[in-house]
């Protein structure tokens, strides 16, 4: 009986560790993007830099945008992996960043948001607004 209970507990524990994450959904990501809109826009710079042209861009490289020294020196190139890490805790990845936001703890939400950013980045309208890459 005791062995049975241990086996069940083990199975439950394994189950918790392997909860399947849904495929990234750009539509859900668009809703999450509303949180970014205090400071960011897709096509133009605001308190934060524009997101069009984000993928493959070196952090701190949008011309004429006033980045923090920390972001300028970060040497990050934005892609799914670096965005996921940054969005989980911006100030842990880039201490001193102006993006004073606690982060998005949910891996699913980050994946959805990144899927949305990837989706819009590929649109013609967004490409037209992307700054030249350095």
């Amino acid at each position: 009986m005791k062995r049975c209970a241990l086996a069940l507990a083990g199975a439950l524990w394994l189950g918790v560790g392997t909860v399947a994450q849904a495929a990234p959904d750009a539509r859900r990501g668009e809703q999450i993007y509303a949180r970014c809109m205090a400071c960011h826009a897709l096509a133009y710079d605001r308190v934060g830099p524009r997101h069009c042209g984000l993928f493959g861009r070196v952090a701190g490289s949008v011309p004429d945008f006033g980045y923090s020294p920390a972001m300028k020196k970060s040497k990050i190139t934005w892609n799914e992996r670096t965005l996921d890490r940054f969005l989980s805790a911006p100030l842990k990845m880039v201490p001193g960043s102006s993006m004073t936001y606690d982060g998005i703890p949910s891996a699913q939400e980050r994946a959805d948001l990144i899927a949305y950013l990837r989706h819009v980045d590929q649109t013609q309208a967004c490409r037209a607004q992307a700054p030249p890459k350095r």
Binding site: C39, A41, R46, V47, S98, T100, Y101, D102
Partner: protein, 189 residues
């Protein structure tokens, strides 16, 4: 009488504006600008507090400019214009108190840009302006929510939460004006 209990929209607006403006300015000034001891106690982490305050200040300054754009657009009917100007007034109060706090903590307050990029080509009607304002207010709620846990001082977090509450009210009123459900969910994120 509560804002929600009156059937006269003008009276409701007067009641709402009269109450919210006074409550916010009094509470925020007391919590932020009036705390001499807070500045004195600011420890090594105050640099990050300053950065958070200055990022918030930058967003508030942009919001002031955005409401100015809306006010000058000639697209807003008088009651909506009055509402927009009152919300702009709140943002001015937020900005003033944030700038003062940055100075008290030994920092240099962020300045308004000489020019802001706004989607003017997409603002053709009153609803467009309201939708634009609502998106900024929703974003502000998310930004303050994401900033509150980062403050090293509980007093600053509390003051930021006070501003968050005000932005959330703006967002709800703007949604209502657009004919949307004013409060769409039990939690904001």
């Amino acid at each position: 009488m509560s804002f929600f209990q009156t059937s006269d929209p003008a009276a409701a607006r007067r009641l709402f504006l009269g109450k919210s403006g006074r409550v916010l300015s009094g509470a925020a000034v007391a919590m932020l600008a009036g705390k001499e001891a807070l500045a004195a106690k600011a420890g090594p982490s105050s640099a990050s507090d300053l950065q958070i305050l200055n990022t918030a200040l930058s967003a508030e300054l942009e919001a002031i400019a955005a409401y100015q754009l809306g006010a000058e657009s000639k697209l807003l009917q008088p009651p909506v214009l009055e509402l927009a100007l009152s919300f702009q007034g709140h943002h001015k109060e937020h900005a003033a108190v944030l700038a003062k706090t940055v100075e008290k903590l030994g920092g240099k307050p962020a300045q308004a840009k000489t020019k802001y990029a706004f989607p003017v080509d997409r603002l053709h009607t009153q609803a467009d302006v309201l939708r634009f304002a609502a998106s900024l207010e929703q974003g502000a709620v998310g930004a303050y929510l994401g900033a509150v846990p980062l403050f090293s001082h509980g007093e600053l977090a509390k003051a930021a939460a006070s501003i968050l509450g005000d932005e959330a009210m703006h967002w709800a009123i703007l949604r209502q004006a657009l004919g949307e459900v004013a409060v769409p969910a039990a939690f904001v994120s």
